[in-house]
């Protein structure tokens, strides 16, 4: 009985969504007039190369126009990592038994391959967040790539340990640096996270004012945070607690 009610509810929801999106033509231009922007998309597309000299206008939106929102987003990620650690680490502190990895020992092929790939993955992640204002990608994506590199090492080597202190300090300092950049804008230019006036030229590596700096901090923060989350999740003991 309950099952049928749920099916009816889902069908109603699907029908409503379908009716709503029938009214929104796919591929239609909804950005407004680009030469005289009166909508937010046209304004961003115009301001991003002109006043900010940032090639990637999505980065310009995420870090500059909606920079405060991104600070909140980083905070949400930090809270999730903290919450996960506090939920899962409670018992581990009490009994000091050796923490065993869940995974089986990997073959020498996998171990050698992981050793070769690990620095390359880190390099790719750093490249992605340093070039966040020029090419697709940015701090969050680069951080995720770095975390995949650490994940490769964590599942390949049973006794691979990330240096917990270094990770925590990097994460905290990167988050603090983000706020300090925001305060710099507040004191120098009058509003929180305000960008500098000297923004360089379009498509240079150092362009966009404070945008690359903020995205590098976000990249470090997200990379260390996701690594910590993966580390905690992999350290769970397979047995059941009593």
């Amino acid at each position: 009985m309950k099952k049928y009610i749920i099916f009816i509810l889902i069908a109603i929801l699907g029908w409503t969504l379908a009716q709503t999106f029938k009214a929104i033509p796919f591929g239609a231009d909804r950005r407004g007039d680009l030469s005289n922007p009166n909508k937010v998309a046209a304004y961003y597309l115009r301001q991003s190369p002109e006043t900010l000299q940032t090639a990637n206008s999505i980065t310009a939106i995420v870090v500059n126009f909606r920079g405060f929102d991104t600070l909140g987003e980083v905070t949400v990620l930090f809270l999730a990592a903290t919450g996960l650690a506090s939920i899962l680490y409670r018992k581990e502190e009490e009994d000091k038994t050796e923490v065993e990895r869940v995974s089986l020992p990997s073959s020498s092929l996998v171990r050698t391959g992981a050793k070769i790939l690990f620095p390359l993955i880190l390099l790719l992640g750093i490249y992605v967040f340093v070039h966040g204002h020029l090419t697709p990608g940015g701090g969050f994506q680069g951080g995720a790539i770095i975390a995949t590199g650490f994940l490769l090492m964590l599942i390949t080597y049973k006794h691979f340990e990330t240096n917990h202190n270094v990770m925590v300090w990097l994460e905290s300092l990167a988050g603090l640096a983000f706020v300090l950049v925001g305060l710099y804008g507040l004191f120098m230019y009058g509003s929180f996270l305000q960008n500098t006036k000297s923004v360089g030229t379009l498509n240079d590596l150092i362009s966009g004012g404070l945008i690359p700096l903020i995205y590098i901090f976000i990249g470090i923060k997200v990379g260390t945070e996701l690594t910590n989350i993966l580390d905690i999740l992999l350290k769970i003991k397979p047995g059941r607690e009593q």
Binding site: K3, I6, L9, I10, L13, G14, L17, A18, F21, I24, P25, F26, G27, A28, D29, R30, R31, L34, V40, A41, Y44, L45, R46, S48, P49, T54, A55, N56, S57, I58, I61, V62, R66, D69, T70, E73, V76, L77, L79, A80, A81, G83, L84, I87, L88, K91, L134, T135, P136, G138, F140, L202, N203, V222, L226, I229, L233, I236, R240, E241
Partner: protein, 130 residues
């Protein structure tokens, strides 16, 4: 080689149906998993699938015909007329990160529940009943 734009004009209704249909189907499948599945991990996977559907819907709404990525790479400095709406993409970037945080936190709660009750089946977890 056929231009993608010609194909788009020719099969516009079909592409619209495919994109919106996939997104709405993902949302529905995810909701089905959340409402009817008994295993907690499956419920978390359902939440992730709803997330994916919503992201697809967002990006699809921002697409314009014959559009390119909103990135002013060398050679594309004057191509702002062809660029898709960057706002939904920026919002989806935020939403993906929040979705990841939600999934990680939900999975940690599932692990705690499993360790406490020795099962991840919500029918067998008595303290959830009221």
């Amino acid at each position: 080689m056929t231009d993608f734009n010609e194909l788009f004009i020719k099969y516009k209704d079909l592409i619209t149906l495919a994109v919106y249909g996939t997104a709405i189907m993902l949302i529905i499948i995810g909701l089905y998993a959340v409402l009817l599945k008994k295993h907690l991990v499956k419920i978390v996977i359902g939440l992730s699938i709803i997330d994916a559907g919503i992201h697809l819907l967002f990006v699809a709404v921002g697409y314009i015909q014959n559009g390119t990525a909103p990135i002013f790479s060398p050679g594309y400095e004057q191509a702002a007329n062809r660029m898709v709406d960057p706002v939904p993409q920026a919002l989806v970037l935020t939403a993906i990160v929040i979705g990841f945080a939600v999934t990680a936190l939900a999975l940690s709660l599932v692990i705690r529940l499993y360790k406490h009750h020795h099962t991840a089946n919500i029918d067998q977890i008595k303290s959830l009943k009221w």
